[in-house]
Symmetry: C2
Subunit: 366 residues, 2 copies
């Protein structure tokens, strides 16, 4: 087992990474405050893993809330199912919520923990590769609004994150690829050495090689933890984590959440960021080829959906949270392994890159 | 103008108290981060004061959200009106929300500020005496759930609180009394000197004497700010602020929110706390007479609703947030001006005091 410590003062917490961890009571019990525990999961993951987790909680009084699966349900109505379950079971401020699921479950359970009686403890047990390397680290929680993704939420840290790679065995291949998009992101934005490791080992990851997975997850979590520790509330360097996300959110918003997976949209978004970086003269053509090759080997999209228009991209990006006072901000690449925030991208460069990508693009349903 | 500084490290903020403050741009503008401002008010207060506030904001881009008035609307659906307004006006993370209204508006606007894009700035302009002395100080924000009051929310501090006593002129007398319940609470729980001042000046406050109001509001805010600074997240001494509230919440829950005003329920709750303290031998009979006399002069209820049963009280109190691991906790009085948290009240003493109060009680619609 590997441990990554996220250093946030009195909100610090450990991430445990390994095989078989779901069946280790000693990882869970020290982070549970009272006899009250509430497992929050969804209708896909719950039947597979909930009873194994319940066994690790020994004789804790376990309420359980099973949410409908999918980004389409990341809303107030579903969030309220968690509050209903907690209140019906009369859980008090000393309860501990455990998120057993992917990013949607983690985001909603985290926001429920942040808000229930103005804040209770929670533990993340991410069950997708994407959530293991991304959404379970950093304290971003929340739900969607019809007018925008993740528009309502809180910065709220868990007591611990327990990453059991065995849970990936039941994950569809497409979701593994989506998770690899975020793994590749850490290499691209600030870890050139890891990027080279990924180029050599990407097939092992696609094939779920345990050692490769544990290494890639640990390195991803370390990279993210370092950035989050430097900027918990996203005032500065944390913006780099949005590499590929401004474009990606536009794709998700246009196609409707869930048609492309988040990681797939981020994959295409990173490709667009690389191409825009080349257009600005920062990346060489061979760098862009390396990015494209890596994304392709990870079985990720390398272009925007061909049904989208440039104007649709622009419209969605202007309400993105990454906008500061009306100016479009992008995270682009000065070099492979070195991302920067850019405020002054020319509109025509942007339009050109978007149009080229759309013209080479994929069908909407990836 | 008086200024009370709430000392919470990097979340510190000033409370301005005086007459005519709503028309002072210099109080607002330094606390507004960008050109985006959103006034959140309700259908009662908005028509009276919204345009006066808008004039003080000069040329800021002002979105406005008017909520339905009343505790019955302190729920997800109403909260969502704020998010709708912000997103439709494309407000970003640098927006500033201004809560113009009583406790319900302040609690909902504060929770919206805590949650919109995971946290934006807000300013409180409390328009009721209750919210001026209580809910605008301390950072408690939130909404109700059908199964409990204030069950969903956040601890979140405003940038500033601007208390203009002129706004009390349009407040019904019953709401002034409800506010005085919380004022009296500060005297009872920890400020014997202020309690004596209140006994001498309560009629001036009922008559809205400006000097008396400014003094009582300042002293209340100072008392609350001191306690909040010592215990921002309610782990210890802050529990004393719940004097009268465990009983009060049971009354509000049983009768339905809004039939008794919150302050009225707290008034009856403080009377019950005093009577239970006498039962335990801590207060003398003459102390209880002083409490009753002060509440009566403030035109507050001094007994539980006569329609309620002891069992209804017990049922509602066991899901109250003040319950720790199943044990009932009360805030009681060791002496006038000295509250303590008590974990081991005997059930028969409690039942006796509740029954005596109910037997002498008032009609439900106070």
């Amino acid at each position: 087992m590997q441990i990554v410590q996220v250093d946030l003062g009195d909100r610090s917490y450990p991430i445990y990474i390994g095989s078989g961890l779901l069946a280790e009571p000693s990882l869970f019990l020290p982070h549970i405050k009272s006899d009250q525990v509430c497992i929050v999961t969804n209708s896909t993951v719950g039947p597979l893993y909930q009873s194994r987790l319940q066994s690790s909680l020994k004789d804790k009084q376990g309420a359980q809330v099973q949410l409908p699966d999918g980004e389409a349900h990341k809303n107030f109505a579903t969030l309220n199912l968690i509050f209903d379950g907690l209140l019906q079971a009369r859980h008090n401020r000393n309860t501990t919520l455990i998120a057993l699921g992917g990013g949607v479950v983690g985001d909603m359970c985290g926001f429920a923990a942040a808000s229930y009686q103005r804040g209770v403890n929670f533990i993340q047990v991410p069950t997708t590769l994407l959530s293991q390397v991304d959404s379970s680290v950093g304290g971003k929680t929340g739900i969607n609004h019809p007018l925008g993704k993740n528009m309502i939420g809180a910065f709220y840290q868990p007591q611990a994150v327990i990453i059991d790679i065995d849970l990936l065995a039941t994950l569809p291949a497409r979701e593994i690829s989506a998770g690899l998009a975020e793994v590749i992101k850490y290499g691209l934005l600030g870890d050139a050495e890891f990027l080279r490791w990924l180029e050599l080992n990407i097939e092992r990851l696609v094939a779920l090689d345990p050692d490769a997975l544990i290494y890639a997850i640990r390195r991803s979590c370390e990279n993210k933890a370092k950035i989050v520790a430097a900027d918990e509330r996203e005032g500065g360097v944390r913006a780099l984590l949005n590499l590929g996300h401004t474009f990606g959110h536009a794709i998700e918003t246009q196609l409707g959440y869930g048609n492309w997976l988040h990681g797939e949209a981020v994959g295409a978004g990173m490709m667009l960021a690389a191409e825009l970086s080349e257009k600005l003269g920062w990346l060489a053509a061979k760098d862009v080829v390396r990015v494209r090759g890596l994304l392709e080997k990870a079985q990720l999209p390398i272009a925007a959906p061909k049904s989208m228009t440039v104007d649709q991209f622009l419209a969605h990006m202007s309400v993105d949270k990454k906008v500061m006072d009306g100016r479009l901000r992008f995270v682009l690449l000065k070099a492979l392994g070195e991302a920067v925030v850019v405020n002054d991208v020319g509109l025509s460069d942007l339009q050109h890159v978007l149009q080229a990508s759309i013209s080479s693009g994929l069908a909407d349903t990836h």
